[in-house]
């Protein structure tokens, strides 16, 4: 009997020993693979620095050699990008920053004030080589900064993530989202001839990473189905023309990237992957397609009612919100409502005026009234991004002397003078136990909840990707032009086609050089983002808006200067304000012409039109709640101007 116990004990010990060492070795091989890549990248950077110190940068031949070495370095980066971009996004800007100075992007903007960060690395070095009078120190600095940044990626605080599988699926999700919107558009690849070759190289290197990961973490390996589809994607990319403009973005995303994203989401759920990074903060674990409108959360439309789930209560909030949206009771003179400038019958914008009337019904506001549809997919609200929530924005409009010209207490008193509002909100008060009385917050939240619901609908383009519905070939071609030659996709990112790019925590601001008049005599004097973040780079910068429903949301640009999509396309085709001859030192849009043909422009606009969403708009209310205040009896639904 004793022998039996000894045998069991020994077997147990052997099992435990084997299990222990197996675990250790596997995790180590994955980390070792990472460090091999990291060290290889560092060595290449050191070699490039040495070469720069020895070469003659006044000779074209030497510049050409430096360019070739940078191209090699870019390939090293592509082999590591999968990890670097996810593990430390701020430091990544030193390795592959698209701009010399950035204030906005990658800032977790709802919570952090914009701060200045200097970009460096391979893309900026490539761009710098195209300038006249290249300075050796400046060029070296761009590479040295990148080399120094590599220390961060070797730090324990970063590499400890490699010891578990969680980071892998989250980094892979970001990689797939970037395949759809960044790696394929030339966002950070100045030489467009290299986009497809780099993409091919990258897909193969990531496949190697997949293999090593699977060997290291067999219990949470990528599924066979994923591998098979990924390899098909490699084959597809290899068969695509090398020219960037010939790449089939539509089928690349629809048939490969998007299904792979869905499989990765499944694995995130199955393996109970968790994150401790803000990189995953806004992303929805349950979205199984990139073109799900709930892919990431931008705004909370419910406001103070955010924890309310009961359908009946939500319907009541929506009902009150709708009445308020059309009710001029919110304005100082009881003549203007939200619907005055954001007409629900016109996609919640005003298509008839260049810019809306001011409160005095005489002067005009400086900016075009933006559509409220899809505003919920922004983190910063307004074209200068001055608000972090829809509720803040609504309060500002109501109390702004040039808009609704009212003030909080007066609005509350007027609303409470209407029984329908008073009783409605009193019933809802129990749903917000932190509040003992009806507040301005309740009023505002009902309004944002009402109009927010119109952003949940999809367009034919989404349905083609998600449900395999038919789409005209001209639209697909238009999308491919949008993502390549026309360079639209480098600012209007998939899937919302706004300025929010993966990992969807911040918005981009761009200086386009929008003129004051269509004769291009003068730049629009609106300072844009500069009013909020006063830096030279932000002067005349505006948050990139969505192009969804663009056909129905004219006029265009911040000042409504263009009235047709053709004019807008022509503006970009010419290279923005600078391309049209205006002097702007900080324009972020390329001043070079896109050289789009007439046929390409037509297809581009066909694609934009395929983003018109199928929204079931509602009729306006037949009446407004009756007030006990005689001055409020004759309010008109929607206001009078």
């Amino acid at each position: 009997m004793k022998k039996f116990y000894v045998a069991i004990l020994l077997t147990g010990l052997i099992f435990i020993t084997l299990a222990s060492f197996r675990h250790q070795n596997n995790a180590e091989s994955y980390s070792r693979f990472y460090f091999e890549k990291l060290n290889g990248f560092k060595e290449s950077q050191a070699e490039l620095l040495k070469f720069i110190s020895l070469c003659d940068l006044s000779k074209q031949q030497d510049i050409k050699k430096v360019k070739m070495q940078i191209n090699d370095l870019r390939l090293h980066l592509k082999g590591m990008d999968f990890w670097l971009r996810y593990l430390e996004p701020v430091m990544y800007k030193k390795i592959n920053g698209p701009l010399p100075v950035e204030w906005e992007t990658e800032v977790f903007e709802k919570f952090e004030k914009p701060y200045k960060r200097e970009g460096a690395g391979v893309s900026l070095a490539t761009l710098y080589l195209d300038e006249e009078n290249i300075n050796r120190d400046s060029l070296s600095h761009l590479i040295e900064s990148s080399l120094n940044a590599m220390q961060t990626f070797a730090a324990d605080s970063i590499t400890k993530e490699l010891k578990n599988y969680h980071h892998f699926f989250l980094a892979n999700r970001l990689f797939l989202l970037n395949l759809a919107s960044i790696y394929t558009t030339g966002f950070e690849c100045p030489d467009t001839e290299r986009i497809v070759p780099e993409l091919r190289f990258m897909l193969k290197r990531v496949n190697e990473t997949y293999q090593v990961f699977n060997e290291s973490f067999p219990n949470t390996a990528l599924k066979k189905e994923y591998h098979l589809l990924y390899e098909k994607m490699i084959d597809f990319t290899d068969q695509q023309p090398i020219e960037f403009s010939g790449f089939d973005h539509f089928n690349f995303i629809k048939n490969y990237v998007n299904p792979l994203f869905a499989l990765n989401q499944q694995m995130i759920a199955e393996y109970k992957v968790y994150s401790k990074s803000y990189m995953d903060y806004t992303l929805n674990k349950n979205a199984n397609t990139i073109f799900n409108k709930a892919l990431y959360s931008g705004q909370n439309t419910k406001g103070i009612f955010l924890r309310v789930k009961d359908e009946k209560a939500l319907a009541e909030i929506d009902h009150l919100g709708k009445l308020l949206f059309y009710d001029p009771i919110l304005s100082g003179n009881n003549l203007r409502s939200c619907a005055s400038c954001h007409k629900p019958s016109e996609y919640f914008t005003d298509t008839t005026l260049t810019t809306s009337y001011q409160f005095n019904n005489k002067d005009f506001l400086p900016r075009n009234s933006p559509s409220l549809i899809n505003s919920i997919y922004n983190h910063l609200i307004m074209l200068d991004g001055k608000h972090i929530s829809l509720q803040q924005q609504s309060k500002d409009v109501i109390t702004n002397a040039t808009e609704l010209g009212s003030e909080e207490t007066a609005v509350m008193n007027k609303i409470m003078s209407c029984n329908e509002y008073k009783e409605g909100f009193e019933k809802l008060l129990a749903l917000t136990p932190q509040e003992t009385e009806i507040t301005f917050e309740h009023i505002i939240s009902a309004i944002t909840f009402h109009y927010g619901k119109f952003s949940n609908y999809t367009a034919p383009f989404d349905d083609a990707i998600n449900e395999n519905k038919a789409l005209p070939s001209s639209v697909k071609e238009g999308f491919n032009i949008f993502m390549s030659k026309a360079q639209c996709g480098t600012c209007h990112f998939v899937p919302q086609f706004n300025g929010v790019k993966p990992p969807y925590v911040s918005s981009e601001f761009e200086v386009l050089g929008v003129p004051e008049d269509t004769g291009y005599k003068k730049l629009s004097d609106d300072k844009g983002r500069y009013n909020v973040s006063p830096s030279g780079e932000m002067l005349h910068a505006f948050r990139t808006g969505s192009i969804r429903n663009a056909l129905y949301t004219k006029p265009y640009m911040h000042n409504g200067i263009f009235t047709t999509l053709e004019e807008v396309v022509d503006f970009y085709d010419a290279g923005g304000g600078v391309g049209k001859g205006l002097k702007i030192t900080n324009q972020t849009l390329s001043a070079d012409s896109l050289h789009l043909s007439a046929d390409e422009k037509i297809k581009l606009i066909s694609f934009i039109e395929s983003l018109n969403e199928n929204i079931p708009f509602e009729e306006k209310p037949h009446h407004l709640p009756t007030s006990t205040d005689s001055k409020l009896i004759n309010r008109k639904v929607g206001g009078t101007y």
């Binding site: 250790q24 919570f111 994150s275 401790k276 959360s297 406001g303």
Partner: protein, 145 residues
């Protein structure tokens, strides 16, 4: 037999130690506590100004702002009870105890994703920016246990 038993005991202890060492990092990864032990904040000039709980005013608060501050942290407490209490409040001697948190633990928006449990619970679809601010202020200025 005695030697075999002794050897096996040594082996067992040895392997147990090796196993623990090897898996130490793995245990850390999978058994993260919601909040580790807290550091007590020194509270100066604590005054009873509210029947519901004891708290301290921020050092630099102006007299005119005190009313709004009290209103804010009262809301913070209610919101804490709605959103956080189910995991963080404990019962000691039949009394509900809201734990003390250190300042680094109450770091602004990072609370939302620093702990795996918070990834879903503290999303902006569950707690607004303003509400989280109220909860943080309540936890920061409530009297320490």
């Amino acid at each position: 037999m005695k030697y075999i038993t002794t050897t096996l005991c040594f082996c067992f202890v040895f392997f147990l130690m090796a196993f623990t060492l090897v898996h130490q990092s793995a245990f850390k990864q999978t058994h993260i506590k919601a909040f580790p032990a807290t550091q007590k904040i020194l509270v100066k000039d604590t005054t009873i100004t509210d029947v519901e709980f004891l708290f301290d005013y921020p050092d630099d608060i102006k007299e005119a702002d005190k009313k709004a501050f009290v209103k804010k942290i009262k809301k913070g407490k209610i919101l804490y009870n709605i959103n956080c209490a189910k995991c963080h409040t404990t019962t000691v001697n039949n009394k509900q105890v809201i734990p003390d948190f250190s300042l680094p633990q109450l770091m602004d928006y990072e609370i939302r994703f620093q702990y795996p449990e918070h990834q879903e619970d503290l999303k902006e679809t569950n707690i607004t920016v303003e509400e989280l601010d109220m909860i943080v202020d309540f936890l920061r200025y409530k009297k320490k246990n």
